[in-house]
């Protein structure tokens, strides 16, 4: 029953997506815009189908309906409810089901958000592209990754449950959906970019339409990556959080290009420049999400994240090629329309620093992509099995990260177009003071080594610049000084600083020791006393957990353990972590208690400031949320809302301000002025109206 119903829903989803795509293309190509209404009806059917399929899967999991192939692979009557719910995305087919569910959610949100402009070809093409993507993923579900295949199981069959590593921590229930919300969320700006290319409306209108969608997707991806690192740290027992694993890299790649885009898009909105670059970044970001999906789901790489090999690999690779080819082809086709009207007036300017930021993020993306795909290409070429070690990624990423931190310090205080020495000296004074102080304090506290000390200094510089902006904004605008793209962005910057300082400390001053302890014995590591109190075990029908009670500094007792998941026959070392503001103490049971004398091997890892990494990630998410709220609303006469350029007005007077001349306090060189934000009200893009003037497209 569940098999038939579930398959019915995914077949319906495929049919609706295909018909919606085809109908949309016909309506738009033939100019019969009234037909677009039917396309939107298909989108609702896609939503119904994806929700229905997901609900059926959850019902099957909770009913332990092993006649559904997916449930027989990942279901188990002994799995706790939360992990049983999360089992829906713990394996290949289910994860694709979650993918289409989220895509359908975004599709519905787009249609609702733009419901008053449904005959606009830009929106029509965007929805068609999203439906096309949806059709591809539904096709995977109907074909090679069908989770609803009916299977016969013997009486009394008991499923193995999800991978033990995926039912060991709450974060595992949260991390994948967040990551998917980010991955899939980039479909929306990508769809609008393709629509803009097809319609030729490659000006700035579509950017403003998709600004918040992009920021939201970026925020979800950020949180997904941070939670993934946190899960790895809390669960995998190796004492680390980032291994430059290919699947980790795959999630980082769209984040890097997305981050570059979020910055460079402001240059286009403000100056009409970087049109090709921004379109390329957005298309690259979406393509990289598909590449990441390929790496995770093709079985190409062996990783804790990777699902088993399946027939979906070639299909995903083909889709990646189609998406990349289509993007490049359309950008090439529209090349003449994408020419930018201006150039960067001075390198020391806001747009100059955003350009530098893009070069840094682009370079890092190239480094990570090269390192990730090179072993695959080498193996495909002549069968050479290569591994690319951490030193490559570390040695390339560190200097680029320093450049990014430096740019984070200067970009927020730089005015658009050109900065005078006077302006810079006033605006950079306090950030520089913070930088010097943080570097001095770190040296006094014993920090050594080029990168960590530089990170503390540049981190202080960047934090000072961001804090300055927030202080000025709140002084002027009250609570609104925390919201809007610029102000929220500064909160994100503060989060990045916390994260960078945490990473530099945790990586540079890590210490470790493995000690052998008998019951009652005490070992001292880095000034902390570890007393082995007693061994213990708890058993249920799902798992056998062996632990050692370890008292730290005579205070709290921790229980590092090993868990044997009986159904899977897999043993997982589960660390116990004492998290603190300044350091984490990470305990791993390296060897279970000796049957003769209960002696254990205890691995103690002490890493400073790990909590700062998680706090930084959460602050970045908060900043993203604040950036999504509309910022200060400007009057039309205010400088940054003034029309950037005005379309020709037949027989009318020339515009008063056509992107020339001083337009803001910054441009006039007022050094005490806050940085002019980029928070045009929601949708208040300057768009050409029917009378040839700019109009507010909010309505």
């Amino acid at each position: 029953m569940n098999s038939a119903l579930g398959f019915g829903f995914i077949a319906l989803g495929l049919a609706a997506s295909v018909l919606g795509t085809a109908g949309g293309v016909y309506a738009l190509a033939s100019g019969r815009r009234s037909l677009l209404a039917t396309v939107y009806r298909w989108t609702w059917l896609v939503v119904v189908a994806s929700v229905g399929a997901f609900v059926i899967m959850e019902i099957a999991l909770f009913q332990r309906d092993y006649s559904v192939s997916y449930v027989s692979q990942v279901g188990s009557s002994s799995t706790p409810p939360l992990f049983n719910f999360a089992a829906a995305w713990s394996s290949l087919e289910g994860s694709l089901l979650l993918w289409v569910l989220i895509l359908a959610g975004y599709l519905a949100a787009v249609v609702v958000k733009f419901r008053q402009r449904l005959t606009d070809p830009l929106l029509g093409w965007a929805v068609v592209v999203m439906l096309g993507v949806s059709a591809f993923f539904f096709a995977l579900l109907v074909g090679p990754a069908n989770p609803f295949v009916a299977v016969e199981v013997p009486a009394g069959f008991e499923g193995p449950g999800p991978n033990p590593l995926l039912q060991n921590h709450l974060l595992m229930a949260i991390h994948p959906p967040l990551l998917y919300l980010g991955y899939v969320g980039f479909t929306v700006p990508f769809a609008f970019a393709i629509a803009a290319l097809i319609t030729g409306r490659v000006g700035e209108g579509w950017l403003v339409e998709t600004r918040r969608w992009t920021v939201a997707a970026w925020g979800f991806l950020t949180l997904g990556i941070v939670f993934g690192a946190w899960w790895s740290y809390e669960v995998l027992g190796w004492g680390g959080y980032w291994a430059w694993d290919p699947v980790e890299n795959a999630s980082l790649l769209p984040w890097l290009t997305g981050t570059a885009y979020i910055h460079s898009v402001m240059v286009q909105e403000r100056r009409g420049m970087l049109r090709v670059w921004n379109l390329s970044l957005l298309c690259a970001t979406f393509s990289l999400t598909i590449l990441g999906t390929f790496l995770t789901r093709s079985g190409t790489v062996e990783s804790v994240h990777a699902f088993t090999a399946g027939a979906v690999g070639p299909a995903l690779l083909g889709f990646f090629a189609v998406v990349s080819g289509l993007s490049v082809g359309l950008i090439g086709w529209r090349g003449d329309r994408l020419r930018s009207p201006g150039a960067i007036d001075a390198p020391v300017s806001r747009e100059g620093s955003f350009m530098a930021n893009n070069v840094a993020f682009g370079a890092l993306a190239f480094v990570v992509l090269l390192g990730t795909v090179f072993p695959l290409l080498a193996e495909a070429w002549d069968g050479t099995r290569l591994t690319i070690g951490r030193p490559y990624f570390d040695s390339m990423a560190r200097p680029i990260a320093m450049v990014v931190l430096f740019l984070m310090s200067t970009a927020p205080v730089l005015p658009w177009r050109k900065a005078s020495t006077e302006v810079l000296s006033v605006r950079l004074f306090w950030p520089a003071v913070v930088a010097v102080m943080s570097m001095a304090v770190s040296l006094v506290l014993g920090a050594r080594g080029l990168y960590p000390v530089l990170t503390y200094g540049l981190g202080g510089f960047a934090a000072g610049a961001a804090a300055r902006q927030v202080v000025l904004a709140t002084r002027r605008q009250g609570w609104r000084g925390f919201v809007g793209r610029t102000n929220g962005g500064m909160i994100v910057h503060l989060g990045v600083v916390l994260l960078a300082v945490g990473l530099a400390s945790a990586e540079s001053y890590r210490s470790e020791r493995t000690v052998r302890l008998e019951v009652g014995e005490t070992a001292t590591v880095e000034g902390h006393e570890f007393r082995y109190l007693e061994p213990g075990a708890d058993i249920n029908d799902r798992r056998l957990r062996v632990f050692a009670a370890i008292e730290i500094d005579g205070e709290d007792v921790h229980h590092p353990s090993t868990i044997n998941f009986r159904q899977m026959g897999q043993i997982v070392a589960t660390p116990s972590v004492r998290t603190g503001f300044t350091e984490d103490i990470y305990l791993v049971l390296a060897e279970n208690p000796d049957p003769d004398n209960d002696a254990i091997q205890l691995r103690v890892i002490i890493r400073p400031m790990v909590a700062w990494i998680w706090a930084g990630g959460l602050l970045m998410a908060l900043g993203t949320l604040l950036a999504l709220f509309p910022g200060q609303r400007r009057r039309g006469t205010e400088p940054s809302s003034a029309p950037v350029k005005v379309a020709p007005v037949p027989d009318g007077p020339p515009p008063a301000d056509a992107d020339t001349g001083p337009r803001s306090r910054e441009a006039t060189g007022d050094p005490e002025a806050g940085t002019s934000g980029d928070d045009a009200p929601d949708g208040a893009a300057n768009r050409v109206g029917v009378d040839g003037r700019r109009e507010d497209v909010r309505a």
């Binding site: 090269l370 070690g389 951490r390 890590r510 350029k645």
Partner: protein, 247 residues
Amino acid sequence: MTTYDPDTVVYLEDQLQQLLASLDDLDSEYEAGDLEPADYESLKADYTVRVADTMRHLEEQKVAIDEGRRYTPRYVLAIGAAVLVFAVGAGFLLARAAGERGVNDALTGAIDESSRQRTAECQELGTVQGQLLEALECFDGVLEQDPENVEALTYRAWFLVLAASSNPDIDPDQSQELTASAEVYLDRAVEVDPTYPDARVFRAVVYDRSGDGDAVCAELDELAGLNPPPFFAQQTEAMAQRNDCVG
């Protein structure tokens, strides 16, 4: 001066199409007798003016496109050279960090190994692969994070002893210096864990080479008290005899 804006071009193109279609409609309606000649002339003139205006603005936009920024060959070359230098640098580092992928190796990156795992790798570097210098650097890396790693302290010392004795080109002063350094590491290892037999054996060897028979015998006594595996007794038997150690 008109500034190029792609959205304006699309708008003007749409407008032009609509105006031309309206002109066609106008002709049809006039031929059908729906319009008076005067109205027809007036409307046609109005539409024609608007078509001309729109075409003029489109032309201005096209001129503006042509006036858009063009990259000079020097600029393109400079960017190309910078990208090339960066790519070569990345390629060089990639080649340095690339290695043969074993059965349990990841495609890229690696998790942080425990100091015990890394110590074993350092030992392998020195003993199996004979790369003493690399092995010493490897131990330094372990000791940086785990300064009391008794195995790393012990085997770093032992590789120093090997470096002092196995290299024929080394002068006696250097050899003595290396041995003295090894002794410091061994002392530290014994201090951290007095029950670790390997450190005792290696320290006995160092004392033996420096001709301090009493110290050798004292060290071997300590070793015997640890009740080590028979292997250690076999290894140290000749040394004990040479130094007339009793028991």
